[in-house]
Symmetry: C2
Subunit: 213 residues, 2 copies
């Protein structure tokens, strides 16, 4: 019979969740190293994530090489320029946002979904369950990093095909997340996009209903 947790422990988990932030380049401390032990501890947390049929379909590429980071940053730049045009009257505000920390973060981690060749228990009706398992792993990494006082940012303004090519990923692997990891000057009290009034926090009641929509 494994552990029972108590109220102070529950509150601590809530504190970690609430304190987790998406960290961008302006907050990473470029010269503060992240040790290989720290990286391993974050990856270990990933392996405790749930996975459909216990398939553990994750693959992690840890990147410290500046040349590789530069190539990924180039993909970000291209995709970000395309994206800015979609935001109409918010375009100017969009262009002022710092949306990644690829070069500033000492460590980048690319996370892939590696499909199984055989059918996977639990994935037969919802194919997406494989990718979803990998996302659960990313969330574990993020909470672990935050508990370690290490910042993490998820960069999604990338061409996945470019990133796969840069990292020589197998054709059947799918890029799920590109993460920037490093020590930070601070963790913001509230999500940056909330502070900047880009988007408001939703009230829980407005997204919950009972026994149907």
């Amino acid at each position: 019979m494994s552990s029972q947790f108590d109220e102070p422990q529950q509150r601590l988990l809530e504190e970690i969740m609430k304190a987790r932030r998406d960290v961008r380049g302006n907050h990473f401390l470029r010269d503060a190293p992240v040790s290989e032990d720290d990286v391993q501890r974050i990856l270990q947390a990933a392996t405790w994530a749930p996975s459909v049929g216990y398939s553990q379909p994750w693959r992690f590429v840890v990147i410290r090489n500046d040349e590789i980071k530069l190539q990924v940053a180039q993909s970000f730049k291209q995709e970000n320029e395309k994206a800015a045009h979609l935001f109409d009257e918010k375009q100017q505000q969009y262009q002022q946002l710092k949306l990644e920390g690829i070069l500033e973060a000492p460590v980048n981690i690319a996370v892939f979904y590696e499909p199984s060749n055989a059918p996977v228990l639990g994935q037969t009706s919802m194919q997406e369950m494989g990718e979803y398992s990998v996302v659960c792993a990313v969330q574990n990494m993020w909470l672990m990093a935050r508990a370690m006082n290490v910042g993490m940012g998820w960069v999604s303004i990338l061409n996945p095909g470019d990133v796969k090519q840069i990292l020589s990923a197998p054709d059947n692997n799918k890029l799920v997340a590109y993460l920037c990891v490093g020590k930070v000057d601070q963790f913001l009290d509230r999500p940056e996009l909330e502070q900047l009034k880009w988007q408001e926090a939703k009230i829980l009641d407005s997204v919950v209903s009972f026994d149907g929509f």
Copy 2:
């Protein structure tokens, strides 16, 4: 400047992650109630998840109605019968597995992705980011439930179209997760599919590489 966490706190988070289990019907205590406050606390944890462009694209349907659960269980039964045939020589073992707790769990929670009508910051190059945000919310719920000593199981052997119809979900909403929630007789020490030798645990080293594949 928000909280710094220390080593004992980091270890506690690791303990919660390691103790989390996918709970099936044979472990739920059918008659042990889950209060509405407990459900709200689990949903609150979901709202602290990261979301692309702070879009918070989640929608939760809390189900206690037995008639609705019966309809969902019927969808599971159909999909599970189809799935069993895919597992060849493991078909007999598959059919002996208890893979859901829809009727046994006092509470079910269906979690949907509700797309935005406007472009979402960060989702312009990777459309999946909206769903991925919802999956991060599910993982927060799961960790929170475990810390509260409440069991959760993710049922993915369902026809999402059936579930949408049963719950009168809007066309553009996508079912991401169907969760069974309840008190349990025990949390298994190891994942059940590992104990039953359905699938082995992967070594971390085997899924990590550096600066490329």
